[in-house]
């Protein structure tokens, strides 16, 4: 996760570099450190350093790291010619290196030569089966080919070993949601909440999944997780507010006629509706009628 100060720092440096203020290397280092994906900028500024032999040699041994970074950025931007050049330079410098081998395999993948890339990756994995990047590349490759079940299989295999990697859990959760396998997705999001209980987005998505699953128990739980999201975001998350309204009306529908008193916090819905109205009034007054009609339909049902 990138903290706010770090993000500001990156943006500041980026605008500085874009306006010709120098500091390109610092910017690139920071992007690499924070693992951001700003490939176009990296490619542009990285190339400007690499093409200037004086600046390049001033980096010392960091030069090769930059080559690697630019190569990956180039692949991301489909500048395969540039990527190839970078990899060639690295190959000359480090013959037989696994790290360069990884780049070569990635180049194959970028060219969509799936079978060859797969072969390259698996031979790399044979040498070092703990290379997390390669495991993840394989998942990405399966996904790129539209082989979603394959991606799930790879991810599960990966998670069997690296089960504390929450990014992988998130990916798996998103894939399951895209396949409408909500039960499995809810497990993944529970895992994410366990790993980082203070991130409201996980609570929100988990609540979405629970709401989609339906059923009285799940709706109650979803309402609670929407409430948690509201608490964690300070009520600024519109989706969570809508979620509360939907959950309460859903619960009302399910318990209708059973004369079961909904004793837990009946105020929550009215409050969130009020906050929603307030928010729309401030942000986009033109859409207010839409909101009021939507809320009305929820309350009536």
């Amino acid at each position: 996760m990138v903290s706010k100060t770090e993000e500001e720092e990156v943006n500041r440096l980026e605008s500085q570099v874009d306006n010709g203020g120098g500091g390109a290397w610092e910017y690139l280092s920071l992007v690499r450190k924070l693992k951001l994906r700003r490939s176009d900028k990296v490619l542009k500024h990285g190339c400007s350093i690499l093409n200037d032999s004086k600046k390049r040699s001033a980096l010392g041994s960091e030069e090769w790291t930059l080559y690697e970074q630019v190569a990956i950025a180039a692949m991301d931007c489909q500048r395969l010619d540039l990527a190839k050049d970078c990899i060639k330079v690295l190959q000359k410098k480090f013959p037989g290196s696994k790290r360069v081998g990884r780049l070569e395999a990635m180049l194959l993948e970028a060219k969509e030569l799936w079978a060859e890339a797969e072969k390259a990756y698996s031979s790399l994995l044979e040498e070092n089966q703990f290379d997390q990047v390669i495991h993840k590349r394989r998942v990405a490759m399966a996904k790129a080919q539209g082989n979603i079940s394959g991606a799930i299989e790879w991810l599960n295999k990966y998670l069997e070993i690296f089960m504390a990697d929450h990014d992988a859990w998130r990916e798996l959760g998103e894939i399951y949601i895209s396949l409408q396998m909500y039960k499995q997705a809810s497990y993944c999001y529970e895992e994410l909440i366990l790993a980082q209980p203070t991130i409201p987005l996980y609570h929100l998505t988990y609540a979405d999944v629970l709401y989609t699953l339906g059923g009285l128990e799940n709706l109650h739980a979803a309402k609670k997780y929407y409430a948690a999201t509201i608490d964690l975001t300070g009520g600024k998350n519109m989706r969570a507010l809508f979620g509360i309204c939907l959950c309460v009306s859903g619960i009302g529908q399910l318990t209708k006629g059973r004369n079961k008193e909904d004793k837990e916090s009946p105020e929550l819905q009215t409050l969130s509706a009020l906050v929603l109205e307030k928010g729309y009034k401030q942000q986009s007054p033109t859409k207010l009628p839409l909101l009021t009609s939507a809320l009305k339909s929820l309350k009536l049902s």
């Binding site: 070092n128 089966q129 703990f130 069997e160 070993i161 690296f162 089960m163 504390a164 990697d165 809810s186 497990y187 529970e190 895992e191 909440i193 366990l194 790993a195 209980p197 739980a221 309402k223 609670k224 997780y225 929407y226 409430a227 948690a228 509201i230 608490d231 300070g234 009520g235 509360i244 837990e264 916090s265 105020e267 929550l268 409050l271 969130s272 009020l274 906050v275 307030k278």
Partner: protein, 247 residues
Amino acid sequence: MADDLVLDTAIRDWVLIPLSVVMVLIGVLRYFVSKLMRSDQVPDVKIIKEGQLVIRARNLRAAANFIPAKSFRARRYYYSNEENGLLHVPKGQGQNPQAQMFSDPNMAMDMMKKNLSMIIPQTLTFAWVNFFFSGFVAAKIPFPLTQRFRAMLQNGIDLSTVDVSYVSSRSWYFLNLFGLRGLFSLILGEENATDDTQRMMQMSGFGMDPSKSLGAEKDNLDIVQHEWALPKFEQRAETVLKKLVSR
């Protein structure tokens, strides 16, 4: 008494300085040799998996109240049931590190390499110092010291009448051996391999039994009382929203 021994300047030029220089050079050499000999340690799948498992179980324990009771119970069962729970270590299977070392020749080999690169140059330099410089009084400390320092500073000279502030060559060797660490970290960078104390720490940490941490984690997990924290969040959300509305 303090001035009755005059040290020849030749001793400084031929004993004191060469000794220090040789010690530094040997330290540097040892660093590079051990760098050459260091084999890439390929960690075991099982060890990595156990490490990750412990992290995950710890997460579960810390944030248990954030997931519904049903999910928590399912997870706890998954981790710690008696048949095939991930954290459950069958009795007698947790092998002790000694046995592991014997069963894995690579590990013993590694230890030996580490030790060899440490012991061989030390014995050689010690023999060299003993052979050529035994009995030299190599230096004098500019302040007086008590008798207790005699063993430290005058190793190799068995004279009780010599003032303690004189340093024998063998003691100078020892002082260099232990005192040059700071210099090495300057020359070779922070993580230099010559740091003996760190190596000792590693060796003692070597015998850490991963199955033990698994068992401990399991016990911890077993006693966790699950109390879903989410119902409280509804009230908290309410207060948050009330504040927003009234503003």
